[in-house]
């Protein structure tokens, strides 16, 4: 149905925005934020296809994804906290010691 296409596009746009943000931003928290946005893009996609197939599996899968996103949030933010304590900055470039 034409509605599904719209949702898929929204999901794709969200994913793309998240990806671009992940690749270009330097602030650790913003990088993480972008990964969350990527997750949400995939959630939207899953829910859209659930509607398309008239099946609840996709929505269940979306719930799984939300849980995973939450867990990942916990882990990643913990890491970010430790990294911040080490270098007193949230700049990702501070961690480029393994250069060349």
């Amino acid at each position: 149905m034409p509605d599904t296409m719209g949702y898929v596009i929204v999901g794709a746009v969200l994913f793309a925005l998240g990806l671009i943000g992940f690749l270009t931003r330097r602030n650790l928290i913003v990088i993480f934020l972008s990964t969350e946005v990527m997750f949400q893009g995939v959630v939207v996609n899953a829910a859209a296809f659930a509607r398309f197939h008239h099946h609840l599996e996709g929505q269940a899968y979306a719930l799984f994804l939300l849980v995973i996103a939450a867990v990942e949030a916990g882990l990643a933010l913990g890491l970010v906290m430790l990294l911040y304590r080490r270098k007193d900055t949230l700049d990702a470039d501070a961690w480029s010691q393994m250069r060349g």
């Binding site: 992940f22 690749l23 990088i31 990702a92 470039d93 480029s96 393994m98 250069r99 060349g100």
Partner: protein, 647 residues
Amino acid sequence: MSVETLKLCSLVVLLAPLVGAILAGAFGQVLRGRTHWPAIFGVGAAFTAAVYILIYVFNTPAASTGISIPIYDWITNGTGSSFKIEFLIDPLTAVMLAIVTGISLLVVIYSRDYMREHGHPERGYERFFAFLALFVFSMCALVLCGNFLLLYLGWEAVGLCSYLLIGFYYGRPAAAAAAKKAFLVNRVGDSGFGLGILLIYLNFQTLDYKFVFALVDQGLIASGEPVSPALMTTIALLLLCGACGKSAQLPLHVWLPDAMEGPSPVSALIHAATMVTAGVYMVARCGAIFSASETAMTIVAVIGAVTALFAATIALVQTDMKRILAYSTISQLGYMFLALGVYAADSAIFHLFTHAFFKALLFLGAGSAMHAMGGVIDVRHFSGLRRALPWTYATLVIGSLALAGFPMFSGFFSKDEIIHHALAAHPVLGGMALLTAALTAFYTFRMVFLAFHGSTRVPEGVHPHESGGWMLAPLCVLSIGAVAAGYVGVEATGRTFHHFLSPVFASTFAAAHPFEAGSHATFWSAYGLMIVSGALSIAAIAAAYLVYVRQPWIPGLIKASAMGVYRLLWGKYHVDALYDLSVVRPARQTGRICVGIDDYVVDGLLWVITALPRGIAYLLRVMQSGLLQGYALSMVAGIVVLLLLAL
């Protein structure tokens, strides 16, 4: 006496000195100045047993062909059997054992006083007697052995004891260097010797004397094929390598003069009477192998004659008493080799026998003088000692007369025989032998006159006094031997010595080259040579007396007028320098080249081989930017590629 007793006696001969050595070594710190007793008892027991063996062999006709006594299996040789520790007792063994243990006993007794300064034992006194007893053990092992492997063991073991004893005063760099030189030059000879032994095993499949000699006598190798003369010559020459090394013949003679750095008893025992005669003994023992090859015998004779003359000329100008005697030993060993080479093995052993007495006597006498002179032995620094050391002088003169071949002394008879056989074989050899005899008499008495005659002068602060009883008694015993030992081998006593030994050489030397015995057609052919050589000896002694006592300005004149010759002789023909330049230095240089190859070529090759991974790593290193987003970008790119491939 039965074979069992014989076995017991031979074990005593072998092991008593070893036990003495171990006791002296283990309890030396406790015994201190009494450490000579274990050595004396050990060597004394060995001497007693050796005398028993001699009497047994003398009285038992069966022993004349050799009694084999196996002891135990030593090394398995991969063919199901083993190389054994076994002894072979025959007349040659018995004679050698008696000589070795007898002279050793006298030297050990002598050392009790020699190794003391003002009555107190020197530093290392215990070590000395332990090593000396160990040497007697090794030499007896060498003589008693019944197969080539045990011979090699004894051979190297005496080399070891020589190393330990030459380097006794290890604080002196010269002594340590001399010890190392002796061991290494002997090693060079020993590797040739080892190759000869391996070749024997390869062809005869056994190292047992009896079997090898039996096969050689038949002219066959183990598989039944006839022996090729080239093979026998090769084996004989390889064995000769070892003999030249051990007996200090050309070209491996360079270690013996340097070995005089050791104490005088060591020089007397090891480097005059026993160890250096091991080569002669070995050639005599392996008569079957040597006499099967005419080439080898010729080479033996030539080496003997040349060495004898060579060493005698060097001894003419040396001023260190012990070095004169060392060169004289080399020269006399040359005589023995000459005798062996002209198929007169019994004469060689006879000369070995008499030489042991008078040479040991000379060295011990020189040691006595050295002891009195506070360690100085260079005749330029003292003279006129006969007044201060009458006994030493007397015994030394007796020994010198024997060495010089003065008529009626032991050396006269044994040397005369050798010259006789040499002349019969080839006039050149005989001529060289005669010339050497004259030179021998001359330089021996040059030494005596320089040291003991003339005005009395001694080094600074030295008060010479005659040596004590412990040193003089052996000197007296040896003097008696130097005079009388020759009489066991003369016509008047029925040539007991030679007849005793004849069964050993009957099938080998004598068979190959039988002499016309008893053809004393004229007075001149029987006794002519004796008169000639006797006269030569007396003339040489008189000449030495004239030149060094009466008209002492003559030597200086000769030296000035023949400076080139003098320098050549003083530098011992520059053989040491020659070896250093041609062997030692190139070898060290090769060593440096090897290290260079290791560092640059081999490691360089490794560097080149590892350059490939290193290069790739260098290229790929760029990917490790350290930037978080860079990694993320490559992850995304990878996913894109996978998706494209999948779809």
